[in-house]
């Protein structure tokens, strides 16, 4: 891996012609382990930083000609012109990305997909589990800048609370639970019992990302109470921008593409808990 020396700005070329930037090379500015086999990578990308919305994702590419498929990760934070992602080291591709250090380069494409629909004067409950947490950090970051909106995080971890520092940095209230203690629905029930769901007279809206069984349980909980829910889905992906149709989810409107019709769908679209 070489030190980053840009010679051609393909992002600028695309933008000058009115097109979305192609895959391009960026510099890693920070790389750190948050927990055992959980990595946070930060790279400098003014385009993605200025365009990314919470629950949008970026494709990262390995430097290995044997592993050409994009690795899609939800944007976890944007600071200035720097963008962060958090991922679990699962297979050979993420193992290789986990070797990257500040000063190395990585190829990216993005931001991709449709993010959460966020408004002013709203009361958001961010319900996440495991590696579904990063897009919620980004959501909390954005909500903090929306006048009159509040964010409460309700996060379930398997064991280590690896993202707690990042989540609580931006949320107004932060709750979390580990598998040994219970699950996020237990936390939601506790909030309801203690009258903490409404804030300043605002009814809650749920934003959720996490394992499928968790999101289905959260959608069912929300449906029972008539609470709106936006759910960010995960699926094995190909291109990430809607051309290959490899990442579908079954919805009431038929089989839709997670990458470009989503990744965010409402519980009504998914028909969950109805």
């Amino acid at each position: 891996m070489t030190t980053f020396t840009p010679t051609h700005d393909v992002v600028a070329e695309a933008q000058a012609a009115g097109f979305f930037p192609p895959r391009h090379t960026v510099e890693i500015t920070d790389a750190r382990a948050l927990a055992d086999r959980v990595m946070r990578l930060t790279f400098r990308d003014p385009f993605i930083a200025s365009h990314a919305k919470p629950a949008q994702f970026v494709n990262l590419f390995t430097h290995d000609d044997f592993m050409l498929m994009p690795r899609p990760f939800g944007v976890s934070e944007v600071e200035g012109d720097e963008v962060s992602v958090i991922f679990a080291v699962i297979g050979h591709g993420t193992e290789q990305l986990a070797q990257l250090k500040a000063g190395d380069t990585v190829d990216v494409l993005g931001p991709l997909g449709r993010g959460f629909n966020l408004k002013q004067d709203a009361n958001y409950i961010l319900v996440g589990g495991g590696l579904g947490v990063p897009p919620l950090i980004c959501a909390a970051q954005r909500i903090a800048s929306l006048a009159g909106s509040v964010a409460t995080s309700v996060i379930g971890y398997r064991d280590e609370r690896f993202a707690e520092d990042f989540v609580s940095r931006y949320t107004d209230r932060s709750w979390s639970i580990t598998n040994a203690e219970g699950n996020v629905v237990d936390l939601l029930n506790q909030m309801e019992a203690s009258g903490d769901l409404d804030v300043d007279g605002l009814k809650p809206v749920i934003l959720s990302c996490g394992p499928l069984p968790m999101m289905k349980a959260v959608a069912a909980w929300a449906a029972k109470r008539g609470i709106p829910a936006q759910l960010s889905m995960e699926q094995r992906m190909g291109c990430g921008y809607g051309t290959c149709v490899l990442c579908t989810v079954d919805t009431v409107d038929g089989r839709l593409k997670v990458c470009s019709d989503g990744p965010v769908f409402t519980r009504e679209q998914l028909g969950w808990g109805e």
Binding site: T2, F19, F20, T25, L68, M69, R236, T243, V245, T248
Partner: protein
């Protein structure tokens, strides 16, 4: 790495967004392509690609397979990775030929693209219904998909059986004057057998290869990764298979126009297909690694052909290197 259109990947940087006067055209079944590079059908959705580049700059766009009625395709997961390759089992999900005629096709023609409409079916009647509707459409060429490995009926089951393929072509040929391209599967012992059947029964051109049948298992569970269990392999790993298919078919059938497909991610690999005897090429999986790959490859090839005037002249005249 060759799929890389990155900022510092190579010194011969091409700004693909600048206006370009194409220098080297080709001719496929009498239809002139402004350059020899098109998209392969499986990885082309206009709504997705139009954000990234002007598709009218390509030699042609082969659109996603279209069936008589909407198909929902296979359940997810539909994809897995292989060494230098992708496996897919979409199962030809598409909104149907009526939607294609109302939406994608007019938009593509308005954008100035040369359109190869890819035709899918589960049975001969399906193919006939789609061809009947496309016969009077603005599509420039039709590509008959008898090679998809991810559907239980039609697709590859037709393309691996020369008798069934001949019978299908006998039905389709009288239905249209548009050039008929038959897209062939590499999942046969000798690709020249179905190639000859297609040509003897009315094909104006052949495209090859569709994906190779493949499979990956998750060693944690011992089960297939893809819901359909098997999928089609594409990407740089299949390049030698596609080159051999084109070369052998060119040797067996000296006059039939051939569109080479399989593992093309650079102008150099496109050139290799042209030397193998192809009139043109289509780019598929490379668009999964970079959306603008087809246009970049077309530009690279346009420059590579400058130094090969004999090959360039043959292509422009509808001939091939071999």
């Amino acid at each position: 790495m060759t799929v890389n259109t990155t900022a510092n990947a190579n010194d011969n940087h091409i700004n693909i967004y600048e206006a370009h006067e194409w220098k080297h055209s080709t001719k496929v079944a009498g239809v002139t392509w402004k350059n020899p590079v098109g998209t392969a059908s499986g990885t082309f959705q206009y709504a997705a690609v139009r954000r990234f580049y002007d598709v009218s700059q390509l030699g042609a766009v082969s659109t996603k397979g279209c069936s008589p009625v909407p198909w929902e395709g296979n359940p997810s997961p539909r994809t897995a990775e292989g060494p230098a390759s992708n496996l897919n089992a979409v199962g030809l999900q598409n909104p149907g030929v009526d939607h294609y005629l109302e939406d994608d096709l007019p938009k593509l023609k308005k954008a100035g693209a040369l359109v190869v409409a890819n035709v899918a079916g589960h049975c001969d009647d399906d193919y006939m219904q789609v061809v009947a509707k496309l016969a009077d459409s603005p599509a420039d060429m039709l590509e008959i998909n008898v090679s998809c490995p991810n559907v239980t009926h039609g697709g590859m089951s037709v393309g691996t059986d020369p008798v069934a393929l001949a019978a299908l072509m006998d039905k389709l040929r009288p239905m249209t004057d548009k050039p008929l391209i038959v897209k062939l599967t590499p999942n046969v012992t000798d690709i020249t057998v179905p190639a000859r059947a297609a040509v003897e029964h009315g094909a104006d051109a052949l495209s090859m290869i569709n994906t190779l049948l493949g499979m990956r298992l998750d060693i944690r569970t011992g089960e297939p990764i893809i819901a359909n269990k098997t999928g089609g392999v594409s990407g740089p790993a299949v390049l030698p298979v596609g080159i051999a298919a084109v070369y052998r078919t060119r040797t067996a059938l000296p006059d039939i126009p051939i569109i080479g497909i399989g593992g093309i991610d650079s102008g150099e690999k496109a050139l290799e297909y042209l030397y193998a005897g192809a009139n043109a090429v289509e780019v598929g999986a490379a668009a999964l690694f970079d959306p603008v790959a087809p246009l970049r490859i077309a530009r690279e090839l346009d420059d590579l052909l400058d130094a090969r005037p004999e090959l360039a002249a043959k292509l422009a005249a509808g001939q091939t290197w071999r």
